[in-house]
């Protein structure tokens, strides 16, 4: 809002150094008059309404508030916010407001601001709940989230059933595109992380093993560690951040744009069309990525052994082959595939649950990563115990 003053336009350009001034006056015993002077700007510091409130409390007989604004030189929203405060006070004390003494423009703006009464009962309740109530609410919400997840799981299962019977509707081109996106394009980051993890495992182990002159067992350590656990786990965590989040953001944005509703109205099942190809792609790609990660990790171990511990490359290779069993590789690949399934599930779940705003897309993405990693950790523990019990 431009600074203006009724009447003399010349005031507009005169920089008034006089700050806002407020004094109280009583033309008659039941009439409180606010005398305003100086420039009332947002950049200044508008006086608080506490003085007025005090007056209203001390003198219970005030029936009317009027204004005298002839000495106001400049004003903008700073004056209006102050007036809004006064109006609210007057409303609380059931006192009439006589806006006639205000500068013309300010009077009209206040008339505009008070024209539509604040809407009550909009379904939003402002009161902050107490700590315990909030904890209770959060627990209840979590409890309610479980059926929602199961519902989604059920829909995915039905969709899988249709896939098996060849009735699922989705475009093969979509599947190929997603595979390309989650597979080949993820190779560099998977390679980098796996190489570093291989390096770390080799060094950590080598320091201990070298005390017994048993450096050659670095090969066993790295080979077993990468294939059974680290390859799958690292790939899983990378994919949770890279692909699971992407799934959630894609589906969430589609939810915001009503694209998913468009699928529903046209009779397409969005689970078949959007979720199924994503889950399939990740489940198909994960085993390959895990094997790739294993190989890179073992290479990193070899690099450490050869450069820092003076072990012959062929020796290292021999030792790795001797220690390796097919079951180790299978265990890693199975774990990785399970992680892939869980990541795609979490990403798609959060994407489909997304609300209708940009904020909600961000929340969906965050929540998908958190959920994926939680799922991965739980699955990793369960599978490790299971394989141990089975003696694999």
């Amino acid at each position: 809002m431009s600074c203006n003053h009724d009447g003399d336009r010349g005031h507009l350009y005169i920089k008034s150094s006089m700050p806002e001034q407020l004094s109280l006056d009583f033309p008659s015993p039941d009439n409180l008059q606010l005398v305003l002077a100086g420039s009332w700007l947002l950049t200044g510091s508008a006086p608080s309404a506490t003085d007025i409130e005090e007056q209203l409390q001390v003198r219970g007989d005030i029936r009317k508030i009027s204004f005298n604004g002839t000495a106001v030189t400049q004003w903008d929203s700073g004056l209006l916010t102050f007036l809004a405060r006064v109006y609210r006070l007057a409303g609380e004390h059931n006192i009439d407001i006589d806006p006639n003494g205000l500068p013309d423009g300010a009077r009209r703006m206040m008339a505009l601001a008070t024209a539509v009464p604040p809407k009550e009962d909009t379904g939003k309740h402002g009161d902050e709940a107490a700590m315990l109530a909030r904890i209770g609410q959060i627990s209840l919400d979590m409890w309610r989230a479980a059926p929602e997840m199961l519902h989604f799981l059920g829909e995915v299962m039905l969709s899988l059933g249709r896939l098996v019977r060849g009735k699922a509707q989705f475009r093969r081109a979509d599947l190929m595109l997603i595979i390309q996106d989650v597979g080949p394009r993820a190779l560099p980051i998977v390679a980098l992380i796996s190489f570093l993890v291989g390096l770390i495992v080799a060094y950590m182990g080598a320091v201990q093993l070298a005390q017994f002159g048993a450096q050659i067992y670095i090969a066993d350590l790295v080979g077993l560690g990468m294939t059974r656990e680290m390859g799958a786990l690292m790939t899983g965590i990378i994919m949770a951040g890279r692909t699971g989040a992407a799934f959630a953001a894609q589906l969430g944005t589609m939810q915001v744009n009503e694209e998913i509703d468009a699928f529903r109205t046209l009779g397409f099942n969005p689970i078949d069309f959007l979720v199924l190809p994503r889950m399939l792609a990740l489940v198909l790609v994960m085993p390959v990525l895990v094997l790739y990660s294993d190989i890179v990790g073992i290479t990193a171990g070899m690099f450490v052994a050869v450069t820092a511990y003076d072990i012959n490359t062929f020796e290292y290779y021999q030792q790795t082959v001797r220690s390796m069993e097919w079951s180790h590789i299978w265990v890693g690949v199975i774990k990785g595939t399970v992680y892939g399934l869980l990541i795609a599930f979490a990403g798609c779940l959060r994407g489909m649950q997304c609300g209708r705003s940009a904020q909600a897309v961000g929340e969906a993405t965050t929540s998908s990563v958190v959920t994926s990693i939680l799922f991965i950790v739980i699955a990793a523990s369960l599978l490790t115990i299971l394989f141990q019990q089975l003696g694999i």
Partner: protein, 243 residues
């Protein structure tokens, strides 16, 4: 036809006790002030949201009480143009229109391409087949969405705020197109709008929703409502505030 419909999000009731009927060949306007639940009513009509109470009947069949297969059959007769267009952003315009055609008809790729070109030229987008939705303007997206909605020659076309964000000439063309579709194909059209010009040019039946009382205030021809409605709120709305 809608019978005693109550709509709610959780415990928050949007509108209650809505009853009106839409005849074949009607251009039916859902109108009312901002935030009164017009779009929500539309979502109920096209089967995206289940009513809290009441029924939505199509030719006497209650949508939500029907088995899934029946619901799918009813939905096949719908075309919907969403408020934001809702084109599938990973597909070109041609693919957007072709997707339902490929799924629900036995046409070959060549014939589908012809139908797609025809539908796109009907909405003035001939030559834009290979564009992605993000590469064209908002108004063009809306028209492309209409082309998709018309792909399967639906019996009922639903529009959510068709003229929002369109310039006066484009929105006039859209109105003409809607009238033409009704006259030549006999399509029933349901439009959510508060564009008075459109309401009077195309609408011959309507329902007026009120956010204050959270129910419908009237149903009928908007022109009649404007002139003779006993309710001053409706007359004010339809006369842009001057009675």
């Amino acid at each position: 036809m809608v019978q005693d419909l109550t709509m709610a999000y959780g415990d928050f009731i949007i509108q209650r006790d809505l009853s009106f009927s839409i005849r074949r060949g009607d251009i039916f306007i859902i109108m009312g002030g901002s935030g009164c639940g017009k779009s929500t009513l539309l979502r109920h009509l096209i089967g995206l949201k289940a009513p809290a109470k009441g029924r939505v009947l199509y030719d006497g069949t209650s949508y939500w009480e029907s088995p899934i297969a029946e619901q799918e059959r009813i939905k096949r007769g719908f075309g919907m143009s969403f408020q934001s267009g809702a084109l599938w952003s990973s597909l070109t315009l041609a693919e957007n229109v072709a997707l339902p055609l490929g799924e629900y008809t036995d046409l070959g790729p060549g014939e589908i391409a012809e139908v797609v070109s025809l539908k796109l030229s009907l909405v003035g987008l001939a030559g834009f087949e290979e564009f992605y939705p993000a590469e064209i303007s908002g108004g063009m997206q809306k028209r492309a969405a209409l082309a998709r909605a018309m792909a399967l020659d639906p019996e009922i076309l639903f529009f959510d705020e068709p003229s929002a964000g369109l310039d006066p000439i484009s929105s006039r063309r859209l109105d003409d197109l809607i009238l033409e579709l009704r006259d030549s194909l006999g399509t029933t059209v349901v439009v959510v709008t508060h564009e008075l010009a459109s309401i009077f040019t195309i609408g011959n039946n309507s329902v007026f929703l009120d956010p204050e009382t959270r129910t419908m205030l009237a149903t009928g021809d908007p022109k009649t409502l404007r002139d003779t409605s006993p309710n001053p709120g409706i007359r004010r709305f339809l006369n842009r505030g001057d009675i």
